[in-house]
Symmetry: C2
Subunit: 223 residues, 2 copies
DNA sequence: AAATTATGACTGACTAGTCAGTCATAGTCA
DNA sequence: TGACTATGACTGACTAGTCAGTCATAATTT
């Protein structure tokens, strides 16, 4: 259809990369890593697939061999990163339910906080969470998925556990049953602070999380 | 390709910018309102100035009579909306400092929370805050401005006041001196919740704020 | 009439997505 | 082993479309 005027004689942008670098699954991973970099740097709209390709040392067309379109790439990136953490979170929360002599809720809260500090704040996943906060309202499907899979589950698991803590006397008020959000609040502040203000005034996330938990549990003790 | 009848002969890369915005304060306001709608609906990148113009019942060119470019429009919008609230916030916080018999910090906290609920959550300004959270990392100038003018001031004002509360015995621990962020945390959660999850599960922001304050102040009483 | 304000067609720069063509490697046969 | 063919991963020039910003001209005000 198109009379191709001229074909470049193998215009390899040299640089020691001239040949097929990896195969199959490698490429996918390469592209996902590059996509994480670019998306978390510029957001969904402003990210150019040309740049993702460049960063992955791959031609733009290659991206379309592994992902349907820009949006699919974006969604798969988020899910791939969030999935594992949901698993870990469930493991931690379950840890407090199965046993007869249950782990105190307070201890659970600390474990969740540690998980958050290590697996989210301490990794690129903090950028993923930011991306979800940032782009969520513009991707209703994403917001809904995230609510169903993470928020709703996490909250109700925590709520159930908090109810028990109230009945067993560990908690004096039902505040945490009504507002499990309060456990998450300092985590959100941390993510936003890290991405916007940390260079002006660094924030000790672990200490912040600990402070909130201590307050929520009436400052009984402080290991 | 466009086949057009005839056109002017593309010339004069003049650059003369001799324009004054003297009278049309109406137009400016119209445009700002429309811009708020579009920006908070789609974010900075994805907002089309054509749509802003349409919504403001104005031609696109008119926007450029009142604003230098898209970014200026965006920044002025944010500042115009945030400015007044900073004023109110300072007034509230000052109210606790000038008097001899000072307002208890706890009371101040409640006033700030009310201010937030009424002036931010209850208005379009919640969208503005969201926009700042969303676009902040991509506009370093904005993040810095916001840190200097709002965050840093607010935190240190609150910190000073909290120190006093510790000395005077109102607060038993120095947690709030170290982490004034904890006052802001539920506010952030509220904004994000409202914009993403409120349709799935509405959140009572006022009660959430109150719960956190009660907890921070050792649940002494609950009006 | 002159100055000011408004308009919207137009341009230039930019980009998601496509597809004809390339080539490293695997498989087949003598 | 060497020659020849088949495969499909990979490439990047190209298409079709978008949109910020401009400017000649029109409308309105002074």
């Amino acid at each position: 259809m198109r009379t191709s005027a001229k074909r470049k004689p193998r215009g390899t942008t040299d640089g020691g990369q001239g040949k097929r670098a990896g195969q199959g699954a490698d490429r996918r991973a390469q592209i996902l890593v590059a996509a994480l970099d670019e998306f978390s740097l510029h957001g969904f709209e402003a990210t150019r697939l040309d740049d993702v390709a460049k960063r992955a040392h791959v031609a733009k067309g290659t991206i379309y061999l592994y992902f349907k379109d820009k949006e699919s790439l974006f969604q798969e990136l988020l899910r791939a990163q969030i999935g594992p953490v949901i698993g870990m979170l469930e493991a931690v929360l379950a840890g407090g339910t199965k046993e007869k002599k249950p782990v105190p809720l307070r201890e659970l809260a600390h474990r969740v906080a540690d998980l958050f500090v290590e697996q989210v704040i301490g990794t690129r996943r903090k950028d993923i969470v930011r991306l979800i906060l940032t782009e969520g309202p513009r991707f209703p499907k994403l917001a809904e998925f995230y609510y169903r899979e993470v928020i709703s589950r996490g909250l109700s698991a925590f709520r159930a556990r908090a109810k028990r803590a109230v009945n067993e006397g560990e908690l004096k008020s039902d505040t945490l049953v009504r507002f499990p959000h309060l456990i998450v609040a300092p985590a959100l502040v941390s993510i936003i602070w890290k991405s916007m203000f940390d260079k002006f005034e660094p924030l000790d996330v672990k200490a912040l999380m600990k402070a909130q938990i201590d307050i929520l549990f009436d400052k009984e003790e402080r290991p």
